[in-house]
Amino acid sequence: MNRFEFSSYLNANVDLEPSCMQELVKTCPTKKIKKGEFLLQAGEISKYTYFVEKGLLRQYSIDSKGKEHILQFAPEGWFVSDRGSVFFHQSSVYFIQALEDTEVALLEENILNELAHKQPSFIEFNNRLLHNHIRHLQNRITQLLGASAETRYLEFIKLYPDILLRVPQTMVASYLGITPESLSRVRKEMAQNHR
């Protein structure tokens, strides 16, 4: 659960001129929220994409029967945002909540646009990020449409090696679209196979 600074993330992933980098880091404020608090609630319009420097967020919706569905976990080094809200200014259907005391960098859409104008390498980077995100979503939809509970779980632990130790199993089940009982069965069977 080591801290992951936004500037280190940028340094590792994009070739920005030092002046641009400084400006970006300066214009992206950080925010601390306590476990249980929200960065976004359904009905609001979100201005920001969040980069998690420390802690853990979840993005989820609540259906008409009152059931929660977790779209994404965001531990250190992950982005989370409601694209419909940030980019298309729709009121959000999502909640973004801290599952631990969390620190995020706030990225405003227009700052990213300005940066793209100034520095072409940033466009390339941003495209790559978007394509990666789309690939992730495609995988996730395919899994939710047809994969067994075990396959979903195996993909999950590859993607999020430490989340199982940080959130209740009911939340993992919600993310996987299976019942907590199925998740418990999968984990029990795997443990028994190792005996």
């Binding site: 430490d162 130790l165 443990a191 190792h194």
Partner: protein, 291 residues
Amino acid sequence: MATKHIELIAAPPEPHFVGDGFRVHNFIPSLYGLDMKRMDPIIMMDYNSKFHFTAVDTPRGVGVHPHRGFETVTIAYQGKVEHHDSSGGGGIIEQGDVQWMTAASGVLHKEFHESEWSKKGGIFQMVQLWVNLPAKDKMSPPKYQAIKNAEMAHIPIGQHGSEVEVIAGTYQDKKGPASTFTPLHMYNVKLKKGDSASIHLPKHFNTSLLVIEGEITVNQGEDVPTDYFVLMANDGEDFTIEALEDSIVLVLSGEPINEPIAAHGPFVMNTRQELMQAFNDFNQGKFGYLE
């Protein structure tokens, strides 16, 4: 022999809850100057200072979680803790007792207030330590030592019925019951007001005190109140603890293992690769299963 001086006195930091049953001040590794290396081999200290838990039907505690690479030592000063693990083991840590769990290659366990105790509620006070294991023992089989208070060595000192209760290591050549992987001394120094204890420990052993009850003076100089932590410098062998009122002081002193530490959550290994392996093994059920 040279005096062992005080390096640092720390007030109890803001408490936080571990699960819903343990309201702890974390001294090691979160306090400045007390990272995992400084008190090596003691790499974590959570102190549940006296806290009143109300009566409840469902015991409070912390649910199933794994450990690998170290030992957990639970000292129950007030209240009782019940624990269960994935190998089918379990038990109750009674008031005054110590549980020494060698997680080593890995256990899944859960810890709750004992059910009958929970129904009455009361004052709860406990210390939990993580004692690191040397690389060669990190993947050894898990085991438990349930140490009853009566099994500890009790050495009378002072003029007013004081004593040193030895959990591990030795005091005045009297040996405590806990077996340890590396040289380690762990005592409860129980002093009546006005009595004092002379402590002799090797210079290079990392040494600290935690005032569980009362108020003490160390080396006839610095007053240390209840719930405060004292880190001793590695500059000598001898120091004294004098009780300004009836006091209990937990003394910890261990020979540093001096190996690299790669720690994340409930795993403490030597390399990042071993850490990743621990997460994989846990996710894949290799620690077993516990409801």
